[in-house]
Symmetry: none
Subunit: 413 residues, 2 copies
């Protein structure tokens, strides 16, 4: 069963405010197995709204309209819709009494224009979730169902959940159940990922796959439909395993958990603590790790050693290493990782040193040159990368790669 | 001159991802005095896209289409548009060479499907901003102009600013010259700002004001029109001064420069160096400071002292201070600021300690309690805040407030 969503409001068409309502409705409909085929956003313009509404009636079985139900001059939806549908506006006495009650409770003096709020097209059914300042209404027109909802997101949402979604699901009857899973991958491009997925037999049918680049990761959404939620979840598990078999370590865990949370969980489970030595990432790795609630259980801290003196004083990098190999070198990365581990008394030390640009590059060490060092209780490892991109992209790639190196190491520990 | 925007992508119609592109284009067009009459969002469905495109051609003088230009199966925009417009797809040799070069640079192996990226409708003009992975293209069709842009917001934005907006403004011709300035404010709400602006005589006429909440800042866009760019810039200067007179220190500089860049400029001009001691912000301040190219000139580094041991060992906070007042206290913030300054041998030490939540709060020190310390060559100051919001919001507010405190201090030094 197909329908569409029309969001009205000059604040939307001028880009002043981001649309919330159309997106919210689209997402909830999709999750319920119903489809909004198109979203249309327009300003508070009656003729344009009427044209769009009439066209929508010619093709869609349900139409959700948000915005323009209030009492100010630019609230034109009700009158415009009634005119377009050839319906008279009638005064609803119950609604009028509700408005009076509402104003008294909020100690707002009565204005003439509030009377307009009680005018609804003939045949409309009021959607009243109580408590809210605003009501919506539903209308049957020929084969189609129309839902008029307020533009204030919180109010729209309440009425959508209380009336619109249940009524559409009951009407649709046989859409069944939908289960969805988002997987995160790092180290594989969208095109390569699609190539890989197209060759996995399990993905041949019965699953809808969506690709969403999310720099520096690529996300994949699996959607399956059926009758039994348990069976659908098993299908998703099977698909995840089939994908993991091919992409291996590029899949960041089976549940779409953010990388910093995944690493945090690994550290916690292993009873391990971590310290950082960040140079070109400037604190970004620490910022990401501490976005996770409870990270103080395993993250002890870090040194942002932007200048060389900090590398010597706080991380105890040997002066001859800095002098001979330079701040951006595998030798320094190793010493930084060891130094962080020692300075904080941690089990693990993770270090990044590199050239984020745009200046500071040389023929031997161009912009994007990054060394990642990891000290564990038993050994120290170092990796060399050459990243492409802007200063910020190189920082983001360096932080992500360092966390990913740590994740891969912890998997084997 | 009226036009419309069509954004394609299954991730948009399923509500998985919020539309950025259509809103961005709508806002920028509005600011330039052009109007997007409607925004249409749909999935990757050729027949529906073709229907919507043809209808748009019948009424709009310009159409901006985003999404679906990539190399994966669901990228269907180019072929569908060419078919709808009755145009053959031609292989563009220059574009093909560019794609090969791009893949080589990124060390991505060639796949058959990349060849598709070089097919464009006859008569299309390639929009290439260099550097980007993706190009767009422009097409004249009858009276209308069509612009096809990639769906990745950063790429869409660059091409929109470099080609679409200038070309439309030139085409519109009689809109004259438009000058625009974005001002950043921190510490004032959108409603307060609106109230303040409505009372400034200089803002009575001739300027269009846009308000854009941009957590944790509020941005204000001033747009003026005329014939002479120099006069317009002077008008903008006058307006900025008039606003600054009222909001004073809440205006972050006269040019809309990001706060971290502003602070960096102040430090550089003063010949001063800075070190950080970050606790609840976890590295976010360092990350922001180092997003600015050349920050190594004044930023020496920081200690992320997430655990208490780091506060003792690396920042030399006195054990009795930690024991008596706790890690989140004005006393500890002072010692941390002093400690950072000393450890890095910097002129200034900036410290943040607080409770980002959701756990860790107490009746005396609830979640959101934050102390900011600033050590200068002559003195140490400390400020106390109680922020509201999620863990991430409290981190963001803490980092922003610390940088803002530093900015205000440097103004007076």
């Amino acid at each position: 069963m197909q329908g569409e969503i029309i969001a009205t409001g000059t604040e939307l068409i001028t880009g002043r405010v981001a649309d919330f309502n159309a997106r919210y409705a689209a997402r909830r409909l999709h999750e319920a197995g119903l489809t909004a085929q198109r979203l249309t956003i327009l300003g508070d313009e009656p003729p344009l709204f009427q044209e769009i509404l009439l066209r929508a009636l010619g093709r869609s079985r349900f139409i959700i309209i948000t915005g323009g139900l209030g009492a100010t001059e630019d609230d034109v939806t009700v009158a415009a819709a009634a005119q377009a549908l050839g319906l008279p506006l009638l005064l609803d006495e119950g609604l009028l009494a509700r408005i009076h009650r509402c104003l008294e409770e909020r100690q707002i003096p009565w204005l003439e224009r509030y009377g307009r709020l009680a005018l609804i097209p003939r045949g409309a059914v009021i959607l009243d979730a109580g408590g809210l300042a605003c009501c919506g209404f539903a209308l049957k027109h020929g084969d189609a169902r129309l839902f008029f909802l307020p533009g204030v997101p919180a109010e729209m949402q309440v009425l959508f959940e209380a009336y619109v979604l249940p009524s559409l699901m009951e009407w649709a009857g046989d859409v069944g159940v939908v289960a969805q899973r988002t997987l995160r991958l790092f180290g594989i491009s969208e095109t390569q990922l699609q190539e890989v997925v197209s060759k996995i037999p399990e993905f041949r049918e019965g699953v809808r796959v969506g690709y969403y680049p999310n720099f520096p990761e690529n996300h994949l959404t699996l959607t399956v439909r059926g009758r039994d939620r348990r069976i659908l979840e098993e299908t998703l598990d099977r698909l995840t395993v089939a994908l993991a078999r091919v992409v291996d370590d590029m899949l960041l865990g089976p549940e779409g958990t953010p990388l910093e949370e995944l690493v945090g969980r690994q550290l916690k489970e292993g009873g391990l603590t971590l310290a950082l030595a960040e140079s070109c990432t400037g604190g970004l790795i620490g910022h990401r790790l501490t976005n996770v609630a409870g990270s103080s259980d395993y993250f002890l801290g870090g040194v942002v050693s932007y200048g060389n003196q900090a590398k010597l004083d706080l991380l105890r990098v040997a002066p001859e290493v800095l002098a001979e190999w330079g701040a951006v070198s595998p030798e320094t990365a190793l010493e930084m990782a060891r130094g962080a581990k020692t300075a904080f008394g941690a089990h693990l030390g993770l270090a990044v040193t590199g050239i984020a640009g745009p200046g500071g590059g040389s023929p031997e060490k161009p912009v994007g040159t990054v060394y990642i060092g990891l000290a564990t209780p038993h050994e120290v490892e170092v990796w060399h990368y050459l990243f492409q991109g802007s200063r910020e992209e190189i920082k983001i790639l360096s932080a992500q790669t360092a966390l990913d190196r740590l994740r891969r190491k912890l998997k084997k520990m």
